[in-house]
């Protein structure tokens, strides 16, 4: 990955600060908050799919699991700090177990997609059928298709009375997304991240080099689920209710579309794809002329046909052609190298 980490951090901080300042002037913070949360969810799949080559059809499962974990824990505990931590850990552990089963079972891509899809469906069906009073965890009723309302929302750590809501909650979510983005950047620059990209490119080669591909994919899968879980918990706080729809297949499909439209193999692409498409959906939801899903489908088809690498790689390419230093041809590179050698000699 070109450029230094310090530069990356600096740019991320400046851009985040600018966006946090400017965006609320254009869009209400209530809507912005959910766009930021979807951005984080998009990034979670963008990490494991775009950099690890793991196409997961069930990223919504971890999102929903994070939301439900938070809601159930918040009802039982009351204060929001521990539930937030649990909402990250539970999906991560669940994904580690599921991932270990799939990767150690040497499942290929297609079966991986099918299994993650089915797991999402099972969770969806299961949560939907828990309306009866016997489905209780601690003092929290699962509530079936009605979902779980009325749990303690995010508070200042240690002070259950000091709720974080409205504009303040938007800032918390935006900063959380920036932190996750930086964490992902650090991860991708580390040896672990570079090896993960190697695995995406050629699993056989990496295992012939002596890397345990199965273990590494399992860890990456769990990291992705942890990020999705965090997004889920933030979503639960935003909506102040969790419902089985979080686990729906439609939700999973949408995450995949965000990544394709935004640009796979980039960190920014899935975030922008998620926020952009979610905002479009929000705008389309205010009219009744055309169906929402029809437009989303059309956008996906158009992108796959005309911009298969997504928005961000296309824009980056355009930038490079217009302003960047032209990439040196091989002859130039060789010449430059020779000149340098002569300089040394």
């Amino acid at each position: 990955m070109p450029g230094s980490l310090q530069k990356d951090v600096l740019i991320a901080v400046v851009v985040t600060a600018l966006l946090i300042w400017l965006m609320p002037l254009l869009i209400g913070t209530y809507t912005l908050t959910v766009l930021v949360i979807y951005g984080m969810l998009g990034l979670s799949l963008g990490l494991i799919w775009g950099f690890g080559g793991i196409l997961c059809f069930g990223q919504a499962a971890f999102f929903g699991l994070g939301a439900y974990t938070y809601a159930i824990a918040a009802i039982n505990i009351g204060e929001s700090t521990l539930p937030m931590i649990l909402a990250v850990l539970v999906p991560a552990v669940f994904a580690a177990l599921l991932g270990a089963m799939m990767f150690y079972g040497r499942l290929t891509d297609v079966y991986l997609g099918v299994i993650t899809l089915v797991v999402t469906l099972i969770l969806f069906k299961f949560i939907n059928s828990t309306a009866g009073p016997q489905y209780v965890i601690g003092t929290a009723r699962l509530g079936g298709f009605n979902g779980i309302p009325g749990f303690q929302t995010l508070n200042v750590p240690g002070d259950p009375e000091a709720y974080i809501w409205g504009d303040a909650y938007f800032y918390v979510c935006a900063i959380a997304l920036a932190l996750v983005y930086l964490l992902v950047s650090v991860l991708l620059r580390s040896s672990f991240g570079r090896i993960a990209v190697g695995i995406r490119e050629n699993e056989t080669r990496l295992s012939l080099m002596g890397y345990d591909v199965r273990a590494r994919k399992t860890v990456l899968f769990a990291v992705g689920a942890a990020i999705a879980g965090l997004a889920g918990a933030l979503f639960a706080n935003w909506g102040e209710i969790v419902t089985p729809n979080l686990f729906s297949l439609g939700q999973s499909a949408e995450i995949i579309i965000w990544c394709i439209v935004g640009g796979l193999g980039t960190r920014l692409g899935p975030i922008l794809g998620a926020a952009g498409l979610a905002y479009l959906k929000f705008l389309l939801g205010q009219q009744s002329l055309v169906d929402n899903t029809l437009i989303t489908g059309l956008i996906l088809v158009l992108f796959v046909l005309f911009l298969p690498r997504g928005v961000v790689p296309a824009l980056a390419g355009l930038w490079r052609i217009s302003f960047g230093r032209r990439p040196l041809g091989r002859i130039h590179q060789a010449r430059r190298h020779r000149r340098r050698e002569r300089g040394h000699g």
Partner: protein, 238 residues
């Protein structure tokens, strides 16, 4: 006598009714250079896959430096310090030459040492001019050279190469020969190869496979003048 680094005992591999490798006993000593030859379907590649852990043999055992590795996975075998190059180029096409070799070096060294080792390997393989190019853009010979480079950068004591000279120009083959001789100073090498020109040029011990079994084992000149080998390998009537 040097230590035995690779040994198979009664190695047999069956695919349904087909016996691809039949009761192969094979021994390789430290810093030995050995070529495996034989007509198509003779069992060379199956033998190669069983030794590298890409397939588990139906019967028999594989030992590396005295340790049994019969049921091991490829990454466990590679972790011992065994360098493996498969028949089709197995490289990371959308990564740079540097990154390809670095990933191999990183397995056995920390980041700083891996950087140093990678620079050194690039220098030695004369890849300096293209070190930052994506591997997918390079010519076939260059990609093969990079793959050999990433096998060599881990300082292996045993190197297994499946058809390294396939589809390469004469100049590339010559360069490849130099690299193999360089590697052979510290490592035992097994080469599965079709190209007799190439085998003659590295002039070495040869094991001939035929119908899944070892037909004979001798120096390349003796093997090539043997009427039975000429019969099965070159398809001539004895």
């Amino acid at each position: 006598m040097a230590e035995i680094v690779l040994e198979t005992q009664g190695l047999t591999m069956r695919f349904g009714g087909v016996v691809a490798a039949n009761n192969v006993d094979f021994k390789l000593r430290a810093r030995e250079l050995r070529c495996l030859i034989g007509p198509n379907g003779a069992g060379k590649s199956t033998f190669f896959k069983c030794v590298t852990g890409l397939q588990t043999p139906t019967e028999g055992q594989v030992f590396m430096r005295g340790e049994e590795t019969t049921t091991w996975m490829p990454h466990q075998i590679a972790s011992l310090g065994v360098g493996i190059k498969t028949q089709t180029p197995n490289v990371m096409d959308s990564l740079t030459v540097f990154e390809n070799i670095w990933l191999a070096a990183r397995r056995f060294h920390d980041v700083a040492e891996a950087n140093r080792k990678t620079d050194e390997a690039i220098e030695r393989l004369a890849l300096g001019g293209i070190a930052r190019s994506d591997l997918g853009q390079l010519a076939h010979g260059e990609r093969q050279r990079v793959e050999l480079g990433l096998v060599a950068v881990g300082d292996p004591w045993l190197v297994l190469l499946d058809e390294p000279a396939a589809g390469m120009s004469a100049e590339d083959v010559e360069r490849m020969t130099t690299i193999i001789h360089e590697l052979n100073k510290t490592a035992a090498i097994v080469i599965v190869e079709h190209d007799m020109q190439f085998i003659r040029s590295i002039a070495t011990q040869v094991t001939v496979f035929h119908q899944g079994s070892v037909l004979m084992e001798d120096h390349v000149d003796k093997v090539m003048s043997d009427p039975m080998v000429r019969n099965v390998y070159l398809g001539k009537k004895a």
